[in-house]
């Protein structure tokens, strides 16, 4: 799937609107799903979906290589974080500005992973690891905010996130090999 998407993106760069439409059809569920999970309301999720795909069309050069789905999720998360920030109506916000640049560390081994495999790998994590990971990714809050809200010590949260990500990584590796 990601191979096809990368090829379609090549055509989008040449202003091929059919290729763009095909990309939309295969990825709107992902973009809208992430936005919906983060924002919790359909109208806002639709707006973010529109914004993200217009960005794909207007600035396709921002995607270089690697897993297109992972890239478009990152773009979606950043736009949804903007909306969360504007809802908070705070000038100085503690939310992370963006996901880290992953260029150069894209992992070919994980390029073909699909939603069901990720869902299952996440579901297999112990709740104490899965919860801070999901809250951080979809809730857009910092680890410090998690500690404040839950009363769990900062160091414990950090360790649980790291252990959870390690476990997730190995579960995804196993899923790919299966």
């Amino acid at each position: 799937m990601s191979e096809d998407a990368a090829r379609l993106m090549g055509r989008v760069r040449e202003r091929d609107s059919d290729a763009f439409e095909a990309l939309y059809d295969t990825h709107y569920r992902l973009v809208r799903g992430v936005a919906l999970r983060m924002l919790g309301d359909a109208a806002a999720a639709d707006d973010v979906t529109q914004t993200v795909f217009l960005k794909v069309w207007t600035a396709p050069e921002l995607f270089r290589t690697g897993n297109f789905a992972a890239w478009i999720v990152r773009v979606t998360r950043n736009r949804a974080l903007d909306v969360l920030r504007s809802r908070a109506q705070q000038g100085a916000c503690e939310l992370p500005e963006s996901l880290p640049e992953l260029d150069g560390i894209e992992d070919v081994a994980l390029a073909r992973i699909d939603a069901a495999q990720v869902r299952s790998a996440l579901a297999d994590l112990p709740a104490e690891q899965r919860e801070p990971i999901e809250l951080g990714f979809f809730g857009g809050i910092t680890h410090e905010e998690m500690a404040r809200r839950s009363g769990i010590p900062l160091g414990t949260i950090k360790t649980r996130i790291r252990s959870g990500l390690r476990r997730l990584r190995s579960a995804l590796d196993t899923a790919v090999r299966a």
Binding site: Y28, T51, L54, L99, F137, S163
Partner: protein, 267 residues
Amino acid sequence: MNDHPMLDDIALYALGVLPAKRAASDDPNAVCAETVRAHLATCAICRKEYADLGPAANLIGLAAEAPADDAARDRIKARIMAQVRRESVVPLRRPERRGGTTRSVVWPAYLVAAACFVFALISTISNLALVGQLRDVKTQLAQTQAHSSSLARNLADERTTLADVMDANAKHYAITDGEVITRGRRIYVALHDLPEPPRGHVYQAWTLPKDAKAMKPSVTFVPDARGLAVIALPVDAHATDAVAVSVEPDGGSKAPTTKPLFVVPLS
């Protein structure tokens, strides 16, 4: 587990939960994305950890893929494709302006799409389905041109503004009804739902140079008929600590004479 003190922070960085930067008032030892990035450049142990965890973290979003929804797919697609399916060059007529002349301009397709994107961005922020109502790109751009002088002034400026506002590396500082956006050394103020200033008055932007005690006057502007304004500030973002906007008499003031609508510290 603590074989290397920074490893837990690498996981936080990979997940995207670290603050981008720390305020000067924070604990100087507290970690942020910026310090992790700097550390990654120098530490092979952490680079290896990041190479392991980063791709896994980046796939978490896949778990949220929504079930197929043909109605939603088609509804959003109609909004997007209306803006995408355009010829390479779209001729447009400038709308009538008060006492002005009417002339034709030609907008390249990428600018059409980019302008639509800015509107989409603003509508997303304001949580209005603005773009959904703007089905016709000609109408939309006519409005853009008539109402947003900074977007309409000249193509070169527009290109820079739009590229900056869209850029993934731009920083967005949310304010009520808008954003202050920095990209590299440039600063923009994007406002919506801005009421017309009282008669004989304008809005004026203010900037606080680093290490300065007083705000310096910047550009004056008025919003469009829908209350929209996108303004580029002619100062260096790296040398600026804060941005503000206030209502001032026509022609602007040397120092703010009214309480600013907002003051945004730039980190």
